[in-house]
């Protein structure tokens, strides 16, 4: 089987990836970096962000930010422009995955999950999307949704699922607003991906969840990163406002 990553296809481009200290975000940063992009590795965890940047090597810069605040996106933009001279790609990946039973979600946790997961995507599309629009060179925004936002969560709480559903619709509105400027905005909606969120689960629950996946295994972060990387490529110029599912056949739509 031949595999054909777009090695070098993103050379000269700069990407911001939020939540890139670990897990899926780190894999997305790795995939875009392998394709040639320079990466702004953004995370609340300063040490983790620095570690990812160091692992990837040159063409990287780490920045510690709290995506709940609009100012974080001004900081990321300034970092991208100061370090690499331009911005082309934004991956809004930062999220809190909280497996909370429905009747136990309180207002503070609801607000915080929505702020981290959804308000951050609004700011990302406004601040960074606004820059891409004004820069006039087109661009790519990929937002990480989830199957939880389509049919409810397997493990994550209502706040997580609602935030991911919200990302789906913010993507479409931002896509329409940015389409005339050659900036595409899409959602990638994974489910059942191995990583920190799954590691934190009870092993028996993981086993039961995996047994329900049609392809018979959990997905790997690299498999999500591959779709994100394709959507960031030049070949994806005609894809906008779309949701690309990566769920092992759990939900076919």
């Amino acid at each position: 089987m031949t595999d054909t990553p777009h090695l070098g296809g993103l050379s000269g481009r700069t990407a911001i990836v939020t939540g890139a200290a670990q897990g899926l975000g780190a894999e997305i940063a790795r995939a875009l970096h392998a394709d040639g992009a320079s990466i702004v590795v953004a995370d609340l965890d300063a040490d983790g962000a620095a570690r990812t940047a160091q692992e990837l090597g040159d063409r990287t810069v780490a920045v510690a930010v709290d995506v709940r605040e609009r100012a974080a996106f001004e900081t990321m933009l300034a970092t991208a422009l100061d370090t690499f001279g331009a911005l082309h790609i934004v991956v809004n990946n930062a999220a809190r995955t909280v497996p909370r039973p429905f009747f136990e979600i309180d207002a503070d946790e609801w607000d915080d999950v929505l702020a981290v997961n959804l308000r951050s995507v609004l700011f990302g599309c406004q601040v960074l999307g606004g820059h891409l629009r004004d820069a006039g060179q087109g661009g790519r925004i990929v937002n990480l949704g989830s199957m939880a936002g389509q049919i409810g969560g397997l493990v994550a709480g209502a706040h997580y699922a609602a935030s991911k559903a919200g990302i789906g619709v913010v993507t479409k509105i931002a896509a329409a607003a940015l389409a005339p400027y050659g900036v595409t905005v899409n959602t990638v909606a994974p489910a059942a991906i191995a990583g920190p969120a799954m590691d934190a689960m009870d092993p028996a629950a993981v086993q039961a969840a995996v047994a329900r996946i049609p392809v018979g295994r959990a997905g790997q972060p690299q498999e999500v990163a591959g779709v994100v990387a394709w959507l960031c490529s030049d070949d994806a110029a005609s894809v906008t406002g779309a949701t690309y599912d990566v769920n092992g056949g759990l939900f076919m739509r």
């Binding site: 089987m1 993507t171 389409a179 005609s238 599912d245 092992g248």
Partner: protein, 222 residues
Amino acid sequence: MSVALVTGAAQGVGRAIARRLHADGHVVVLADDAADANAAAAADLGERAEGITVDLRDAPAAEGLVAGVIERHGGLDVLVNNSAMAAQTELWDLSVVEWDDVLNASLRATFLLSRAAGAHMRERGFGRIVNLASLAAQAPRAGAAHDAAANAGIVALTRVFAAELAPHGVTINAIASGVTDTSTARAAAPEEIASLAAFLISDRAGFITGATYDVNGGALMR
């Protein structure tokens, strides 16, 4: 070496997919009923390419196509169902003959080829099928009822085959492309759709099955 069969490969998107998969190193079998154009498309690729003239409205010929590829090339790893017929006739003028022709050329051919190839891939524990569908499946407009029904059927078939074959290392996905007439959306170049097809058959896409990936310039956001 990986073997790929692409239907409707004489021109347009099918030809671009054949060219891309060939460039990626696959043996590519190009199938089309336009004999001269298909032979030219295959000759254009040179080595590792074979052109087969076949009318996929003919059910035994469609099933025989898969069997022949497996026999001549030792197996089939990738199937791209792209065969279709131009279908512009208005609902009120549509004859039964044309309805059958369009449904047989696209939907039934996709079914027959997927079943024949899927059985082979299931035995081998690996395979990739990509079905080309259109926006007409998701956002039907007044007019070509046969085209809309055929494409909607292809999306449904994609899910049924995906459910059947998921435990066996075989993934099946659809690409739904197109723009509406009134939209300002940008139409995808055949090479862009070929790039997505190449991704979906790659090793990186093993966790994607039963999905429909839209390429419509924002004409339908769903």
